[in-house]
Amino acid sequence: MHIFIAKRLLVAIPTLLLVSIFVFFLQKLLPGDPVMALAGEERDPVVLAELRERYGFNDPLPVQYVRWVVAAAQGDLGISLRTGQPVLELIAQKLPVTIQLAIMALAIAFCLGVPAGIYAAVRKRRFADHAVNFLALASLSIPNFWLGIMLILLVSVNLQWLPASGYVSPWENLGLSLKTMIMPAVVLGTGLSATLLRHTRSSMMGVLKSDYIRTARAKGLSGRTVVLGHAFRNAVLPVITLTALLFGELLAGAVLTEQIFTIPGFGKLIVDAVFTRDYAVVQGVVLCTATGFILLNLVADVLYVLLNPRLRSQL
């Protein structure tokens, strides 16, 4: 097991390097000059040149890149051009907000999608299956921003049940934190739940057709034990991998959702940074996201192996 994890971590290093190269150079290709953004109203060429020199924008690109990567490897992601805060500090501030949103959204997606997927598979091609599939298709087709705005209108403006925006840390006030976050999490989670449902359903249908399920039924086990005990344990494996992959989609969705509900999270951080050409922040955020994505997939792979005895014994 240790060797397996070590191997996967070693593979992650070149992946991260590739990501860093990609992010760094792609950004340089974008039109716009960060110095201009920094200088604000200032247009004095001497001041601009001085700024350029101070932030190292005059060095050749490879030198700039190496300097950045070496620093990043030591945990120094540079300083935000706009606010002057260290990028790591900014990330540390905003990340927990988005993680809370992501976890709540995933929890909602899982609690809706997986049981509904199992139910649809068991009731294959009957009314319940068709109904569940229709709902899934509908929630996949409804854009996040529309659902978000409609929910705000209904729940916050008309009914005044929940706050329409803002953020409260769960450490400060758990109840209020959940209350402010539930609506964005629902918006983000429904689309994902539909994806999870479709995959759970097809994975489950495949497993229900297998010989060992027939064996389990021939043993006289109840339908419940057969489905939840014997079938789900095998059907959940591909769903785990999928969930890790959905993380990317989750983040993309978070960018939009955070805008709608004006949540000061990761998504908002990156959008603001891109608009102001805050290179250091964009690079830092993307690198951080990529690392998170790779780690999450590692966790999914480890889980997959732990739940699959055939792979476990090969370690």
Partner: protein, 601 residues
């Protein structure tokens, strides 16, 4: 006479199809008493498995409709609720299935899966169930049951998994065991052991056994009475003795006549075609043996010397090879034009890898392969393509080896086009001719593989390779998946083609009875090595190596007098051909028993 354990009356099962309900099993009726074995025999599509699943009510109730009566202890199972039925399944009636490899849940230990029956039906707690499960594992002779209780299915061989299935089925001491083709997927020596075990446990527990099979040899060995099914109808029921000796229904006679029987070739010099059997009337017309003698005075078409193929087993941080599977080890043989050499042996013995190594579908590690004087292992580029034209391969499963999105005509024409032999209209015309050569109508060219039966698909696969005019066809278990009557027809087709076109066959098979019929010479493989090779008469008539003898003795013979036979072969788990990297294969010595008949010492 005791009351029957199970009485089936007028059992009719229909499946929901697009055109309404279609009956797949009609008016089945039979009784089974305690201690008795009834076999249900028939070809694929005869409805024998549907019958057993109907009795257990394991068919999807929304897709199927079962009528009639299934009486167990005076209760009609068809009247029970699903909840009541769950108390019957695994408790009063237990079932084992064909595919031991897929019939166990891969996510749970085998012990847990056996113990589950006991906690479910006998109200035991986990500790009691564990003790009882280990006892039953010991009873079905799984070695080290204490340790193996906590192992997962993938750590068991096929034969051992079937023992686990039997342990699971018998854990609650059912009155009736339904065994649906329980030995079909197993190697022949393992099959003998499992049949032994079932007979033994039946005698001990006094249970009734309903045995579903397509294999008349197995029927003869195990059944007291036999039900013959044909396309959903029960055509004949009687004692096994009666069915085998004086069957009334023509189909029963035809089914028996089509069975390749080991030992039927004594005194026959040339390979012999199977008799033509009309399945409807039961009329049997013998066909002539092969007329074309093999000329062994010329150099052989294919010569294989000391072939070695190994696969690395990799592990560790850097994925370094830590050991190797010695799939083929020092294999040597010659094959002449117009000759059939059979490679026989059990799964994992390296017979398929040998075939694939010769075509260089896998790269051998050593040895020499000469095809018509050409060094096959040195070929590259265009000559390699030409070699692949001369050696063609047909596989076991004709369905998965034909592209489902290509019409049969396209599939047959494809190799012609790829190798630049013909294109467009000419390729299509040639494809028609080829289909005709294998006994199909050229009018079928525009149909898709799923519209053909298994036997027809195998004919298409043969037509496909014939287009390249190969000198040698490697037939890898090509008839193993076919029903007996179809198997005979396809074998006859191969013999016809050999006689007409002088093609050589490397016939890879585990089916000794078919091999005896079709081959000129036979090589027996065990753990990657040929242990005995010689003419068919010599190997079958005078087997010298203990493994050859074991293999031949294990084949079920369709003779009801063998019903009380117990083989009592020792149970050994399959030996593994995985060796450490520095392993030096022992020097092998050969003894010449007769002319051309070599045995490993």
């Amino acid at each position: 006479m005791t009351a029957p354990i199970l009485s089936v009356r007028n059992l009719t099962t229909a499946f929901r199809t697009e055109d309404g309900w279609r009956e797949v099993v009609r008016n089945i009726g039979f009784d089974i008493r305690a201690g008795e074995t009834v076999a249900v025999v028939g070809e694929s599509g005869s409805g024998k498995s549907v019958t057993s699943l109907s009795i257990m009510r394991l068919l999807d109730p929304h897709q199927s409709r079962i009528s009639g009566q299934v009486l167990v202890n005076g209760r009609n199972l068809l009247d029970l609720t699903e909840g009541q039925m769950q108390d019957v399944r695994g408790n009063e009636i237990a079932m084992i299935f064909q595919e031991p490899m897929t019939s166990l849940n891969p996510a749970y230990t085998v012990g847990r899966q056996i113990a589950e029956v006991l906690t479910r039906h006998k109200g035991m707690d986990r500790a009691q169930a564990r003790t009882a499960a280990i006892a039953i594992m010991e009873r079905v002779r799984i070695p080290n049951p204490d340790r193996r209780f906590d192992q997962y299915p993938h750590e068991f061989s096929g034969g051992m998994r079937q023992r686990v299935m039997i342990a699971m089925a018998l854990a609650a001491r059912p009155k009736l065991l339904i065994a649906d083709e329980p030995t079909t997927a197993l190697d022949v020596t393992i099959q003998g052991q499992i049949l032994d075990l079932i007979k033994e446990l039946q005698a001990e527990y006094g249970m009734a056994v309903l045995f579903i099979t397509h294999d008349m040899g197995v029927v003869a060995e195990i059944a007291d009475r036999t039900v013959v099914m044909f396309r959903g109808d029960q055509v004949e029921t009687g004692t096994t003795d009666h069915i085998f000796r004086r069957a009334d229904h023509p189909y029963s006679r035809a089914l028996l006549a089509a069975v390749p029987a080991l030992g039927a070739m004594e005194g026959q010099a040339q390979p012999l075609r199977f008799p033509r059997v009309d399945m409807a009337s039961g009329a049997i017309a013998p066909l002539p043996p092969m007329a074309r003698p093999v000329d062994r005075s010329v150099p052989p078409l294919l010569s294989v010397q000391n072939l070695v193929t190994r696969f690395d087993v990799k592990a560790g941080l850097l994925n370094r090879p830590v050991s190797a599977v010695h799939a083929v080890e020092g294999v040597s043989f010659d094959l002449w034009a117009g000759e059939t050499l059979a490679l026989v042996g059990e799964s994992g013995c390296g017979k398929s890898t040998t075939g694939r190594s010769i075509m260089r579908l896998v790269e051998p590690r050593g040895g020499a392969i000469t095809l018509q004087g050409q060094d096959v292992l040195a070929l590259k580029g265009a000559p390699m393509q030409a070699m692949r034209r001369d050696i063609q391969m047909i596989f076991q499963d004709p369905f998965s080896s034909l592209n489902p999105r290509m019409t049969v005509g396209q599939a047959v024409a494809e190799p012609l086009v790829k190798h630049g032999i013909a294109r467009g209209k000419a390729a299509r015309a040639r494809a028609g001719e080829l289909l005709e050569q294998v006994g199909l109508s050229p009018a079928m060219m525009d149909r898709y593989p799923h519209e053909f039966s298994g036997g027809q698909r195998q004919r298409v696969a043969i037509a496909r390779v014939l287009g390249l005019e190969p000198k040698l066809i490697v037939a890898d278990e090509s008839v193993s998946a076919l029903d007996v009557s179809i198997k005979a027809q396809v074998c006859n087709l191969l013999m016809d083609l050999q006689e007409r076109l002088g093609i050589s066959f490397l016939f890879i098979s585990h089916d000794m009875a078919v091999v005896e019929r079709i081959s000129h010479r036979v090589a027996v493989m065990y753990l990657g090595e040929i242990v005995e090779i010689g003419s068919r008469e010599a190997v079958f008539g005078n087997p010298q190596h203990p493994y050859t003898q074991k293999l031949i003795a294990a084949v079920p013979v369709p003779d009801p007098d063998r019903r009380l036979l117990r083989r009592n072969t020792p149970i050994d788990e399959l030996k593994s051909p995985v060796r450490p990297l520095d392993y030096q294969p022992p020097k092998r010595e050969w003894r010449e028993v007769g002319q051309d008949h070599l045995v490993m010492v």
